[in-house]
Amino acid sequence: MNKTLISCQGISKVYLKGKQEIIPLNELDLEIIQGEFLALMGPSGSGKTTLLNILAGIDSPSKGKLYFNDQDISQLKRRQLTSFRAKNMAYIFQLYHLIPVLTAYENVELPLLTHRMSSKERHKRVCKALELAKIADRADHYPKQLSGGQEQRVAIARALVTDPPLIVADEPTGDLDQESAQAILTLLKSLCTDLNKTVVMVTHDPKAAAYADRTLFLEKGVLITGDYNVVH
C-alpha cells in the first residue's frame, strides 16, 4: 500500500479583484497517494488550476495546511518554495513551453543546470529521461522541428529528468490531436505504474480523465464528491 504523498487540510484561496473577494478554493480537504494518477475536472473558474498550482508549490493557500511527504509546505517562503519545486515536482503545460533556441536534449537538460552535478551525470539523466518519454530519436531537434505530440514528450522528459515524486499537468493533451493525446496519456499513466510517480492532471476531457485512477470534480472551489471514479 502506497503512503500519502500530499495532504490538503481545509485549504482555501482568497484574492481580491478590485473590491470583490474571489474564493477559487474553499475549505478543501484532499489526500493524494504516492503513485496515483489523479484527474481534476470541472467547469472554467471552478478552481482546478488554482488547486494544481497550490499542489505544485507555485501558489500558496490563503488558509489551511498542505503537507507534502508530511512536511507542511503551506508556510514556506518564496525561496524555500522554489527549492521545494526543484526537488519535488515538475510541471507539464498545455502549450509545452519549450525554449525555442534549445534542442530537445537541451530543453530536457534545462532543469538540471542549476543542480550540482557532473556533466557526465547530467548527460546520463537526460538520455534516460528522453528514453522514458520515447523521444530520444529527436534529441537534436529544435521545438519548431517537432510535432505537438513530440513537443509534449520532450516536456514530459523535462519533467522526469529531476526524478520528482510529483508531476502536475495542466491540460497536457488540450492542444493535441486524438492519436497524440492517447499516446501522451498512456505515457503519463505508465509513469505512475512503472515509476511510481504521482501525476495530478487538470483536464476538460472525460476521455483523458478516463486514464486516471481517480477523478475529482470541482465546482466553485469545492469538491463535489470526495472520490469519484469516472472510468470504473
Binding site: 505544485a56 507555485i58 519545486r85 533556441v101 534549445l102 534545462l110 529531476t162
Partner: protein, 382 residues
C-alpha cells in the same frame, strides 16, 4: 557551476534574435570606438599641454603674436638671454608651417643651428647618430616618425612643402608630440629658403638650471626686452602650447562630452535590447522559475546577456579604434604646434573596464524586470 551553465544559455538566447543582437553589438562597437577616439584625443591633449615634474624648457615668443609667421625675433637676442641668471642653454628656432590654421596635415619645419643639437634635444632619448648624416648636407631634414609615416616618407626621399624642398636624412622617434610631426632642418637653410632672411628667428627654446626657476627666468627675459623693438612673451613650453593652440584645445576638450554621450548611448542601447528580449520571454522565465530556478539564476541570465553583447561590441569597438588610431598616425596642428593622437595601453585598459561595467549596469534594470510579478500571473500571460 550553474554560473557557467546559465551563461551558455544566455549566449544561446543572444543568437535567438541574431539580427537584433548583431545591431546592438554593432552599436556598442561604434560607441566604444568613439569613446576610445575621444579618450585618445584627451590623452594627446594632456600629453601636449600638461606640465610634468622636471619640465625645464621656456619658449620665448614675440609678444602678442601666435602664428609662427608673425613672430619675428632678432637672432642675437640669444646672447642676452644666455647671460640671464639661471639660464642653462638657449636655442634660436625658426618655425615655418604650410598652414597656420588648424589642420590634420600641417607640415612644420623647425630650423636650429647645427651645433645646438644636444641643447635642442637635451633630456630626450634621441638617436644621436641621425645627426651625423644630417650635418652632411644643408638641405637635410630629420623627420618625426608620425609625420614620415603619414606622408609615407623614408630616408633618401625628397619632398617639398611651403616652398621649401628638403631631402630626408633620417626618421626620428621621440616621446615629445611636437617632435613627432616636425621636419628638423638647418636654421640658416630655413632662414634662406623661407625668404625671412638670416638673423631672424621665430622663438628661442631656453633651458633653465632648475625647473623651480622657470617663472623667475621667464619674467627676467621679458623684462630684458620690454622696451626693445620686438618685446617678448616667455612661458614654459607646455603653457605656451596650451595658450597658443587655445581654440583647438577647447574644441578637443569639448569632445569629452561626446565620449560620455557614446558611453551612455551604449548603455541605453544594451538596456533596450535586453529589456525587449526579457519582455518576450515572460513565460519562459516563469516556466524556469516553476521548475526551480531561483531569483539569482534568472537575474544572472539577464545580466549575462547584457554582458555578452556589451563585451563583444565593446571589445570590437576598442580593437577597431586601436587599429584605426595606431595605423593612421593622426595629429592635429594649429599655429605650428601639434597634438598627436597616439593610442595608449592605459586607454585600452580603461575602455575595456568601462565596457564591462556599462554592460553589467545596462542589464540591471532588465534583470530586475525579469523577476518581477506574481509567478501564477506570469504563467498565465500567454
Amino acid at each position: 557551476m550553474w554560473f557557467i551553465n546559465l551563461s551558455l544559455l544566455s549566449f544561446k538566447q543572444i543568437r535567438r534574435h541574431w539580427l537584433r543582437s548583431l545591431l546592438t553589438i554593432a552599436g556598442a562597437a561604434c560607441g566604444m570606438f568613439l569613446f576610445m577616439t575621444v579618450e585618445t584625443f584627451q590623452d594627446g591633449l594632456k600629453n601636449a599641454t600638461e606640465m610634468q615634474a622636471g619640465d625645464d624648457t621656456l619658449v620665448v615668443y614675440r609678444d602678442k603674436r601666435f602664428c609662427p609667421f608673425t613672430s619675428r625675433l632678432p637672432e642675437d637676442y640669444s646672447n642676452k638671454i644666455a647671460q640671464i641668471n639661471g639660464v642653462k642653454s638657449v636655442v634660436p628656432v625658426q618655425v615655418i608651417v604650410n598652414n597656420c590654421g588648424t589642420s590634420l596635415d600641417t607640415i612644420t619645419f623647425r630650423g636650429f643651428p647645427e651645433g645646438e643639437f644636444h641643447n635642442y634635444f637635451a633630456g630626450k632619448e634621441i638617436d644621436s647618430t641621425l645627426f651625423d648624416s644630417w650635418k652632411l648636407a644643408s638641405d637635410s631634414a630629420i623627420l618625426g616618425k608620425e609625420f614620415a609615416q603619414r606622408r609615407g616618407l623614408k630616408a633618401g626621399d625628397r619632398f617639398d612643402a611651403a616652398g621649401i624642398t628638403v631631402r630626408v636624412s633620417g626618421i626620428m622617434e621621440s616621446d615629445d608630440p611636437q617632435d613627432q610631426n616636425t621636419a628638423f632642418v638647418h636654421l640658416d637653410f630655413l632662414q634662406k629658403s623661407s625668404k625671412r632672411g638670416l638673423g631672424e628667428v621665430t622663438q628661442f627654446n631656453v633651458k633653465v638650471n632648475d625647473h623651480t626657476l622657470l617663472d623667475q627666468v621667464a619674467k627676467e627675459i621679458d623684462n630684458t626686452f620690454r622696451y626693445d623693438r620686438e618685446p617678448t612673451h616667455t612661458r614654459p613650453e607646455k603653457a605656451f602650447i596650451a595658450n597658443t593652440a587655445k581654440d583647438m584645445i577647447e574644441l578637443i576638450s569639448f569632445t569629452r562630452w561626446l565620449g560620455l554621450a557614446a558611453v551612455l548611448a551604449v548603455s541605453f542601447l544594451i538596456t533596450n535590447t535586453v529589456i525587449i528580449a526579457v519582455r518576450g520571454r515572460v513565460i519562459e522565465n516563469a516556466v524556469m522559475q516553476a521548475m526551480g530556478f531561483q531569483m539569482e539564476h534568472l537575474t544572472w541570465m539577464t545580466l549575462a546577456e547584457g554582458l555578452f553583447m556589451g563585451i563583444i561590441g565593446g571589445f570590437t569597438g576598442i580593437a577597431s579604434a586601436y587599429l584605426f588610431l595606431s595605423t593612421g598616425n593622426f595629429a592635429i596642428s594649429a599655429e605650428g604646434l601639434s597634438i598627436v593622437f597616439n593610442i595608449q595601453l592605459e586607454t585600452v585598459l580603461k575602455a575595456s573596464i568601462l565596457a564591462m561595467i556599462i554592460s553589467f549596469v545596462a542589464g540591471i534594470y532588465p534583470a530586475f524586470h525579469s523577476i518581477q510579478g506574481n509567478l501564477v500571473n506570469r504563467l498565465r500571460s500567454h
